[in-house]
């Protein structure tokens, strides 16, 4: 499953990427395999999403979330 499939309040551990060239910025912000990510909430119009990773809030679009493979925890 990907990060897109997690509901607000759920968390997952990143296992990898579905794409070979996801945005570099995602990695630099700490979205790497092994990191635990919590979906905090969705924006009012349903996209983007507010994540908590490595102790801070990061916002990404569902499109990017769909590239990130996770395992629910």
């Amino acid at each position: 499953m990907t990060l897109k499939d997690l509901k607000p309040g759920e968390s997952g551990t990143i296992t990898g990427y579905t794409e070979t060239t996801p945005p570099m910025r995602l990695m630099e912000m700490g979205m790497l395999p092994g990191a635990v990510v919590e979906v905090v909430r969705l924006a009012p119009l349903g996209d983007p999403i507010d994540l908590k990773v490595r102790g801070y809030h990061l916002s990404i679009r569902k499109h990017e979330a769909g590239m990130i493979e996770v395992q629910r925890v």
Binding site: T20, P23, M24, R41, A43, S59
Partner: protein, 793 residues
């Protein structure tokens, strides 16, 4: 960019500490630390060729050292223009700038792991580095305890815990910096083996291909070039052999399925994550909701979020437009007074005219927007410092994404409602070059405050004051439509530009939502002043110069006195004399009676209390003389009025024969299909410098002297103007056509100049001007011809 020349500072330790650069992620308190280190001795300039602010100041204390506040950056592999500057500064790749002698890497203690990512990158540049571990208070509040000594040992760098907002840790930081720490050992982390081998090879290739590049920078350059195409392109002409080698390495790694693009990031985090886990102890359950989380639950709520956003916007607009008015009036009045003063002090002549009508009026045109700009910058600063700015992007991203932009464009576009210049400048925070360019290209479609005078004049003159449904005024509705038209067109243009014109990497949206913080008003005010200064200097220079040119165009060639007007003047003169003689003959009024009455009549003219009573008592005494004197007064009044009319007509005649008038008449056939006569065309020509100039041009053309948009006289003149065949020049349809023209047309030199600086070419400003003028023409044509076809003309 010139060949890097920073080797000197790297091989031989500087005798003295001269340059200190502050690097760090956005929002970690760099500027706060900068203010602490420099006191108020700082100056803001620009980096050559771009409008990124270069903030520098002198270190407080004996050492004559320069402190530089770099733009915030998440990584040294740059994505945005801001980040590019930060990196180029650190490696000394900017014209006239040497690498710093010491880097102070400001890190947010409450968000240690991600902040240390950048620290490890900075370390690899081999520059002496101090870590300012800021926001220790926030870390404490979040229940984090950090073992700073062990951190210092692990990094091999001095680490100074700080609470910059309260001035804590300043002395320790100063001491650490002045102590000039040893350059760190780079690469405490490890790269995966396969990639590491390639990187070593490539480093050698680069050393041969670009011998000027300092050894310490090679490693970072290789990593960047391997991971990002943009970084690789940099070497295309500078070191083609290296570029080729990188491409080959990429191919080999690809074939073996090695995720080389992420090797660097993974290597760094793999080293950092266990380190941070070891050094940071938690006293609180990390899943506990913080204050910031609770605020977000409201501010980004499904219903509450958009509502709060709209209310905030409405309040800001209300403030920008209403609070600024008294100050704007004051500035206008002062400039007018200054003009009068200069006229009184200097002898009449071309130089004085130029000074008053060109220079002072031109400077006034810029300064008059200052109150709005200041207010706007104040509110934007407040939004930035509280952390609300990021939320507006979060809330609006979905909408913006529909037209191909991202949430990051919200603020630049909103700023453009006050003025496109700060709007375009704000776009440089966008980390996608394509998004930034598109945002710049559509920002001038937002109705800026310079359009307001034109909207006001024509709406007040030609849109009926009636009310729809009992509460929506036609005029208000018309005003609202102007704004709406601009917004809709900006979205359409963005979509078209994205789809067909501006190619580039597809955008993504990865944005930090920083915790809410209490803003420091002093800080916000300070930045407001700084940014406004930049605006005034930049826009000022251009408008200043252009106003002078415009003045020449409107004043030359000077036509000699026309016999026609001289004859008219003589006729009026004769008429007056005849009338006066007639009165004298009929009433036997002597000059003395008139003299006696003069003050009373003057009083009546100014509607002074008691004047009528005084006149009545005089009338009782000398009925005949009083009646006669009043007739004399009337004749004088009429004479003055007629004389004024002739002077005004003469001004109009002069303008018609000036270069501008000539341009207006040349343009008339082109503008005719839009319903514009030569005067409007001339106004549009002058409005090219700055839109609001059209109001004063029309004022001159319609010979009503000094006017502003609220002038009743100008409104009446416009309504009364007729073509030779008796048709009115302005109908409501012409007015709407003109309004539409002003919504779309790019009539602002300053915007073009800023766009040139921000895009570093004349190409995009040219495209901008052409497409906006094209839109203006097209839509005015549709409105006017369509309206006529429907019988509205």
């Amino acid at each position: 960019m010139p060949a890097p020349d920073s080797s000197a500072s790297l091989t031989e330790a500087p005798a003295r500490l001269r340059r200190i650069a502050l690097a760090g992620n956005p929002n970690v308190g760099k500027t706060t630390v900068f203010n602490l280190l420099t006191g108020l001795r700082q100056k803001v300039a620009n980096y050559p060729g771009v409008t990124v602010e270069r903030k520098s100041g002198r270190l407080v204390g004996a050492e004559p050292a320069e402190v530089i506040d770099l733009p915030g950056t998440y990584s040294l592999n740059p994505k945005s223009l801001d980040e590019q500057i930060a990196y180029d500064m650190l490696v000394g790749r900017i014209e006239g700038e040497r690498s710093p002698d010491v880097v102070v890497c400001v890190a947010d203690a409450s968000n240690l792991e991600r902040n240390l990512f950048l620290v490890t990158q900075v370390m690899d540049l081999g520059l002496p580095t101090v870590v300012a571990l800021n926001m220790m208070d926030a870390a404490e509040a979040a229940g984090l305890r950090i073992d700073t000594e062990s951190l210092s040992r692990a990094l091999g760098l001095p680490v100074v815990p700080m609470v910059a907002a309260q001035g804590k840790g300043l002395e320790e930081l100063r001491a650490a910096v002045l102590n000039l720490p040893e350059p760190p050992t780079p690469r405490r982390w490890t790269l995966m083996d396969v990639v590491d081998a390639r990187v070593r090879e490539l480093t050698e290739v680069l050393a041969d291909a670009a011998p000027d590049l300092p050894e310490a920078h090679r490693f970072s350059e290789v990593l960047h070039a391997l991971a990002e195409d943009k970084a690789l392109e940099y070497w295309e002409t500078r070191a083609p052999a290296f570029k080729q080698a990188v491409e080959q390495a990429r191919q080999t790694l690809n074939e073996r399925n090695v995720p080389y693009r992420f090797a660097e990031v993974m290597g760094r985090y793999n080293w950092l994550t266990p380190l941070v886990a070891q050094l940071v102890t938690r006293h609180k359950d990390p899943s506990e909701r913080t204050w910031s989380d609770k605020i977000d639950a409201v501010v980004t709520h499904r219903v509450g979020g958009p509502l709060i956003f709209i209310v905030t916007l409405a309040l800001i607009f209300q403030a920008v437009f209403t609070w600024a008015t008294p100050a704007m009036d004051l500035i206008e009045a002062s400039m007018m007074a200054l003009g009068t003063l200069v006229r009184d002090l200097l002898p009449a002549g071309a130089v004085t005219d130029l000074l008053v009508e060109g220079v002072i009026a031109g400077v006034g045109n810029v300064l008059v927007f200052l109150p709005q700009i200041l207010l706007l910058f104040f509110f934007l600063g407040l939004m930035e410092d509280t952390g609300y700015m990021a939320r507006t992007a979060f809330i609006m991203d979905r909408v913006m994404n529909k037209v191909g932009l991202s949430g990051g464009s919200v603020v630049p576009l909103l700023s453009s409602f006050a003025c496109a210049i700060p709007g375009i400048m704000a776009a440089r925070t966008l980390d996608n070059e394509r998004d930034r360019l598109i945002t710049i290209m559509v920002a001038p479609l937002m109705s800026c405050s310079a359009r307001l005078p034109i909207y006001t004049l024509f709406i007040a003159a030609f849109i009926p004051a009636g009310v729809l449904f009992g509460f929506v005024g036609y005029q208000g509705l018309a005003m609202f439509s102007m704004y709406l038209m601009g917004i809709v067109m900006a979205f359409v243009a963005a979509w078209i530009l994205k789809k067909f014109v501006i190619k580039g990497a597809s955008s993504y949206f990865v944005m930090e939502l920083p915790p809410y913080r209490m803003p420091k008003i002093k800080h916000v005010l300070w930045r407001m002043v700084e940014r406004s200064k930049i605006f005034v200097m930049r826009a000022g220079k251009i408008i200043f110069g252009l106003s002078i040119v415009l003045w020449f165009l409107a004043s030359y060639p000077k036509v000699g006195p026309s016999p026609e007007f001289e004859a008219q003047q003589a006729a009026v003169e004769t008429q007056r004399q005849v009338s006066l003689d007639q009165i004298a003959a009929a009433r036997g009024v002597t000059a003395e009676t008139f003299m006696a009455l003069d003050p009373v009549v003057a009083a009546m003219q100014f509607q002074e209390a008691g004047a009528a009573a005084r006149l009545d008592s005089l009338r009782a005494l000398y009925p005949n003389q009083v009646a006669g004197a009043l007739s004399v007064y009337e004749v004088e009044q009429q004479y003055q009025a007629e004389l004024q009319q002739i002077t005004d007509a003469e001004d109009g005649y002069r303008i018609r024969n000036s270069i501008i008038g000539w341009m207006g008449r040349i343009l008339e056939p082109v503008m005719q299909p839009l319903g514009f006569d030569w005067k409007i065309s001339a106004g549009i020509v002058t409005a090219f410098a700055a839109r609001e100039v059209i109001v004063s041009t029309l004022g001159i053309l319609y010979s009503v002297g000094e006017v502003d948009e609220t002038s009743i006289a100008l409104r009446d003149q416009l309504k009364a103007d007729r073509y030779p065949d008796g048709r009115p020049v302005y109908t409501a349809l012409v007015a709407v056509s003109l309004l539409v023209f002003f919504v779309f047309a790019l009539q602002c030199m300053s915007t073009l100049a800023i766009a040139r600086r921000e895009t570093n070419s004349w190409f995009w400003p040219a495209v901008m001007w052409l497409y906006m003028t094209g839109l203006a023409y097209l839509f005015s044509l549709i409105v006017y011809q369509g309206g006529k076809a429907l019988g509205l003309g």
